[in-house]
């Protein structure tokens, strides 16, 4: 019998590893000496979840699937046809947004995020992009300010203001 590596089985194997790690780290949870003798302590729930995870993952790996010899490679082939490059670029922009938000400040960083994301997605009307990015972010910042929520201007500008 040939075992095909389908999506489900691949995730099943991955989840089996995650459950084992979870169980291992669950066992590492530090307990007070009086908690160790308790019927239910901080480790109990992770034990239950970890064991359940292992059982369900094994179930998923060994459950007979409808996949035929042609289905399994076809599943992986579909992934190659997706629009990966702009997606990865969009993810990178989000990562950069998270890293630079406190440094550049909410308004500058968010405006840049909106502008660059639109550019990545193929928008080329630069003026509209700039007006929309700055306009949306400023309107949102005003609303947040009106609701009484403080947004720090950013370390970069704070430094300048200090000078």
């Amino acid at each position: 019998m040939t075992v095909y590596i389908t999506y489900s089985r691949a995730i099943g194997v991955l989840f089996l590893c995650i459950s084992c790690f979870y169980l291992y780290f669950g066992h590492q949870i530090q307990l007070d000496f009086w908690s160790e003798g308790e019927v239910f302590n901080a480790r109990s729930m992770p034990y239950l979840i970890g064991v359940s995870g292992i059982l369900v993952a094994i179930g998923l790996i060994f459950t007979p699937t409808k996949a035929s010899a042609t289905d399994a490679p076809h599943e992986w082939q579909e992934l190659k046809q997706l629009n990966w490059i702009p997606t990865i670029a969009f993810a990178l922009i989000i990562g950069l947004y998270g890293l630079s938000l406190e440094y550049l400040g909410f308004i500058v960083c968010s405006s840049l995020f909106l502008f660059c994301s639109s550019a990545i997605l193929g928008e080329r009307r630069w003026l509209i992009m700039a007006v929309l990015s700055i306009g949306v972010v400023c309107a949102f910042a005003l609303l947040i300010n009106w609701l009484g929520i403080y947004l720090a201007p950013g370390d970069l500008w704070m430094g300048w203001l200090d000078v």
Partner: protein, 507 residues
């Protein structure tokens, strides 16, 4: 009681209080639409304004903000798959697919009508049953709560396609795992934080919801441009025909009753109510209807919407009659009442009937105003989807990220949200459902607390599962819910075998 209702009507039917209900609903709807600002934030922001008012008017305003925020949360769930509050997660399951099919207007109309019906029916139940239900809800023990949570988790099969129940179960376990990250509040020890200070408070619900739904959806729209929201389709189709009304009316009725009863239980709330209602409706739907769930089913949208609004009203029962806040939002309302020098409890409707009854009567008016306020706005709100995708996707990303950042002001949360969104995209590409992750995460904490209490009280004995009739009933329902896919599969194969045998004997 009749006298009380008249007192309530006399208090609410003044121009000032009607305007306050209107202002509360409007402010709540607008704030609730913004991811990250749910009913708790909306009410907290309004509390300083209420200090200038008398207690009854102040509570009327806050109750209006509460419903408005819940309805506003549904709007962002339907339009951009961004459930800002836990109670509107289930709304996105069918509301968002409808929006993608160009039926955003219709989805918002159904949400408005279902919310109105759920809230109104629950307000009537509240008037008639509040004192009796308060006693009943006190009879619910931790073992019953534990089994109620397990029943909620067992409904994961409602979110799985035929024959893919193990995938849903696996995702539920993933949600439970994520719920254990952070400090165990009972023991005061850190779990799965790996020494990171940022994880000491655990992962916030909003972060997970935005990561798995809104941001992951934005990624999917970039990955598969052809399947993005169909924004060229008109969204003018707002009305419901007779057939559709006939289809959703019983759903709204059933879900409202269920939502109200769940809302009455302290700690259960709108989230469990909406998930249970969704699961129940899918469970009892015909095979053809069942196939539509998750793909834009009217029933799948009406059920959680009416249940979450009914649960919001139901959560006022323990608050007003016992002084017990059943949820975070009602805890803030309790704080507001105490700030006015009012102690909610069994004597509230004897000592200060004008407050007790005016809040209850204002709920009815609040729901009505919410409906009249939102119906004319729906075509304009739905037009948001006609924004070109090159602007819409960055805006979804921006509002999701900002919503999460405004809660914690911690950039680490944005990084974590990105990782979660990437994992969610991979899992979605491999046809793993994401709703069970949220279900497991939401119920995980409550499940552990109640199991800990029940097992400690029974000294480690598992007999707490069948000692009380309520727990036993819930246990039986859970077993049925868990076994139903297996039983269905066995019945199918038995039926197939029987047919094959018949065919063979004919030959």
């Amino acid at each position: 009681m009749f006298e009380g209702i008249l007192v309530g009507l006399a208090t609410v039917l003044t121009i000032q209080n009607l305007l306050l209900v209107f202002a509360g609903c409007l402010a709540g709807t607008l704030i609730g639409m913004l991811p990250g600002l749910g009913p708790i934030s909306a009410i907290a922001l309004m509390i300083p304004i209420t200090y200038a008012l008398d207690p009854a008017s102040g509570m009327i305003l806050l109750a209006g903000v509460y419903y408005g925020a819940i309805f506003g949360g549904s709007t962002s769930s339907i339009l951009i798959n961004a459930p800002g509050v836990a109670g509107t997660v289930a709304t996105a399951f069918d509301g968002y697919p409808m929006a993608r099919q160009g039926k955003a207007g219709k989805a918002l109309t159904i949400a408005a009508y279902a919310s109105f019906a759920g809230g109104t029916l629950a307000a009537i139940f509240l008037v008639l049953l509040a004192p009796y239900l308060a006693e009943l809800s006190l009879g619910f023990r931790s073992a019953d709560y534990f089994m109620l949570m397990v029943l909620g988790l067992s409904l994961v099969s409602a979110f799985a396609a035929e024959g893919e129940h193990l995938k849903a179960l696996l995702m539920t376990i993933l949600g439970l795992m994520l719920a254990t990250v952070g400090t165990d509040l009972t023991a005061g020890v850190q779990r799965f934080t790996f020494g990171r200070m940022d994880l000491i408070d655990g992962i916030s619900f909003l972060l997970l919801a935005m990561g798995t739904f809104a941001l992951a959806e934005a990624f999917m729209m970039v990955l598969k441009p052809s399947q993005s929201a169909n924004n060229s389709l008109p969204t003018t189709d707002l009305g419901l025909d007779r057939q559709e009304i006939r289809e959703i009316a019983p759903v709204v009725g059933r879900s409202s009753v269920l939502g109200f009863l769940v809302g009455v239980l302290p700690g259960a709330g709108a989230t469990i109510a909406s998930f249970l209602a969704y699961g129940m409706e899918r469970g009892i739907a015909s095979t053809a209807d069942k196939a539509q769930f998750g793909k834009g089913s009217l029933k799948g949208l009406a059920a959680p919407e009416s249940a979450n609004n009914a649960a919001c009203t139901g959560s006022f029962v323990p608050l007003l009659t016992l002084g017990i806040p059943g949820s975070g939002t009602t805890a803030i309302l309790l704080g507001a009442l105490i700030a006015y020098g009012i102690q909610p409890g069994p004597r509230l409707y004897i000592d200060q009937p004008e407050i007790f009854w005016s809040v209850i009567v204002s709920m009815y008016f609040g729901n009505m105003i919410l409906l009249f306020l939102n119906l004319p706005l729906i075509p304009y709100i739905a037009k948001l989807l006609t924004i070109p995708r090159t602007f819409l996707i960055p805006l979804i990303g921006f509002f999701s990220l900002t919503g999460v950042y405004l809660v914690s002001f911690n950039p680490f949360d944005l990084q974590l949200m990105l990782y979660i969104a990437v994992c969610a995209v991979i899992l979605r590409l491999m046809t793993f459902p994401m709703a069970p992750v949220l279900l497991g995460f939401i119920l995980g904490g409550m499940l552990e607390d109640n199991l800990r209490r029940a097992i400690t009280l029974s000294d480690g004995n598992a007999s707490f599962l069948w000692e009380r009739p309520t727990t036993l009933c819930l246990l039986v329902l859970t077993v049925i819910a868990l076994m139903s896919p297996l039983l269905r599969m066995l019945m199918k194969s038995a039926l197939k075998g029987f047919k094959d045998k018949q065919n063979a004997s004919r030959l």
